[in-house]
Amino acid sequence: MLPFSIELKAGLPVAEQILFAVKKAVIAGQLRPGEKFPSVRVLSQELRINPNTAHKVVAALVTEGVLITTPAVGSIVAEPVAGGRRERAELLGADLERVVVEARNLGLLLEEVQAGLAAHWRKLGGK
C-alpha cells in the first residue's frame, strides 16, 4: 500500500497528479519527515504506471526538497523547507490564476472564492 492517497484522473498528467498528492500528504501529516518513501518500482507497480514516470516523480520530489535520497534506505521524507516566503508564494502564481479564471467564468465574487479557499485551508488542518 502507498503511504499517501491518490486517485488518478484521466486527462491530467500523471506525474503532476502524483506530485500534488504527495505534497498534500506531507502538508496533511500523512507523510512525516524521516519516513520512508516508496521506491520507483513500488510506485510504478501500485499505480500501474510507466516506471519512467515514477522515476521522474521521485526525481522531481528530490529536486523540490520534499524527499531526500539516502544510499542505504532509499528516499525519505524531508523536513519542511524554510525557504523565502515570497519565493514559495510565487510557486502558487499559476495555480491561483487558474482559480481566478475559473471563478470568473462561473460568475463568482471575490468573497465567495476567499470563503471557499478558507474552507479548504481549514479542511487540511491549516490555521
Binding site: 484521466a10 491530467l12 498528467p13 499505480l47 500501474r48 510507466n50 514516470t53 522515476h55
Partner: protein
C-alpha cells in the same frame, strides 16, 4: 544502441493485399512503446515481421541491433514475446511448461518465477488446455517474464481479459521493469489499455504510420480551448494548428494542436479581444479521436 527496434520502409504484402506499407519506426531503449490502431491495421503483421515469423516484402527491421531476418538464439534469449494468437503446448501442465522453457534461457530467475506464480495464482498441476483465457495469457506471460528479457513484445495482450486479470497482467509486467534497460513494445486497439503505461505511441491505420510521438509531447501540445465572449464580436478564422473551431452563442470552442500558453492566448486575443480564455488538458483517447477525424478530412493523416 539507442533504438531497441528500428524499421525502415518496412513493407509486407500478402498477394495483392498490402498489410504493412512503408513503415518507419524507432523504439528508444528504455521506453514503453504502444503500437495502436484499429483491428486489421497491420499491428500483428508488424510484430510478426519484427519477430522473424514473417519475412518483409520490402524494407527492413532491426531488433536489438540485428536484422530481424537474422534473429538467433542469442537475441531470442533476451526477448519476451506474448501474443493473443500464440501456439502453446496445450497438453502440458503449467509446471511442465516452465520446466520446458527454463533451459533455453541462461538468465532465468527461479525466485521471480516463484513470485509470479504466486502473484498470478496459477494452478501448477493443471494442463494448459484446461485453463481459462486469462489464466492461459498469464501462463504465457510468466514464461516470458521469468528470464527478465531486455525487450518485451506483447501483441494485443489485453483483449478479452477481464479487468482483474488485466490488472494482474500489468502488475506482472512492471514486476520485471528495470529503469533504463527494459523496453516494452505493446500493440493494442484500445488506448485506455496502455495509457498510463506507455511513454511513446505510434498509430497505424491500413498498414500506414499515422504518427509517432512521445505521449508527454502529445499531452503537452493538445488543449481543448474555450473562449467565452462578452458580446457577439470577433471573427472565426482559424490558424492551421486549430481544429474543429465552432461557435455556439457566446462560446467559442476549438482544439489547439500546438499549445503554448502565451502564443495560444495571443492568437485568441487577436481574434476575440475581450474573451475569457480557458485551456483544458485532453486525454490521449480524445487526442487520437481528434487526429483521426482531422486525418479523414485532409487525407494527409498527419497533423504535425
Amino acid at each position: 544502441m539507442n533504438n531497441i527496434i528500428e524499421t525502415k520502409q518496412l513493407t509486407r504484402r500478402y498477394g495483392r493485399l498490402e498489410a504493412v506499407h512503408d513503415l518507419s519506426l524507432a523504439v528508444p531503449a528504455g521506453s514503453v512503446f504502444a503500437l495502436l490502431g484499429p483491428n486489421g491495421a497491420g499491428k500483428t503483421t508488424t510484430i510478426k515481421l519484427l519477430m522473424n515469423l514473417l519475412v518483409p516484402t520490402a524494407g527492413e527491421a532491426r531488433v536489438l541491433g540485428v536484422d530481424s531476418r537474422r534473429l538467433g538464439e542469442a537475441q531470442r534469449a533476451q526477448i519476451g514475446y506474448v501474443s493473443e494468437n500464440q501456439q502453446l503446448p496445450l497438453w502440458m501442465t503449467v509446471r511442465q511448461l516452465l520446466d520446458y522453457c527454463r533451459p533455453f534461457y541462461p538468465t532465468w530467475d527461479r525466485e521471480l518465477e516463484r513470485r509470479l506464480l504466486a502473484q498470478f495464482e496459477l494452478p501448477e498441476d493443471r494442463k494448459l488446455k484446461n485453463l481459462s483465457r486469462g489464466m492461459l495469457m498469464k501462463a504465457a506471460l510468466l514464461s516470458s517474464l521469468a528470464y527478465r528479457p531486455k525487450l518485451l513484445v506483447l501483441d494485443e495482450p489485453f483483449s478479452g481479459l477481464d479487468p482483474l486479470v488485466r490488472d494482474e497482467f500489468v502488475r506482472g509486467i512492471l514486476e520485471v521493469s528495470e529503469h533504463g534497460e527494459w523496453t516494452v513494445f505493446v500493440s493494442s486497439h484500445d488506448i485506455e489499455d496502455v495509457e498510463r503505461l506507455c511513454d511513446w505511441v505510434a498509430v497505424i491505420d491500413v498498414g500506414r504510420l499515422q504518427f509517432t510521438e512521445p505521449t508527454e509531447s502529445l499531452l503537452g501540445r493538445f488543449r481543448r480551448m474555450e473562449v467565452t465572449l462578452p458580446d457577439n464580436g470577433g471573427k472565426l478564422d482559424a490558424p492551421p494548428n486549430w481544429l474543429e473551431l465552432a461557435r455556439a452563442g457566446n462560446l467559442v470552442r476549438f482544439i489547439e494542436t500546438r499549445y503554448e500558453r502565451e502564443t495560444t492566448e495571443r492568437a485568441c486575443r487577436e481574434r476575440f479581444p475581450n474573451g475569457a480564455i480557458m485551456a483544458h488538458p485532453m486525454t490521449l483517447r480524445e487526442i487520437f479521436i481528434t487526429l483521426a477525424r482531422a486525418g479523414r478530412k485532409t487525407q494527409k493523416g498527419v497533423i504535425a
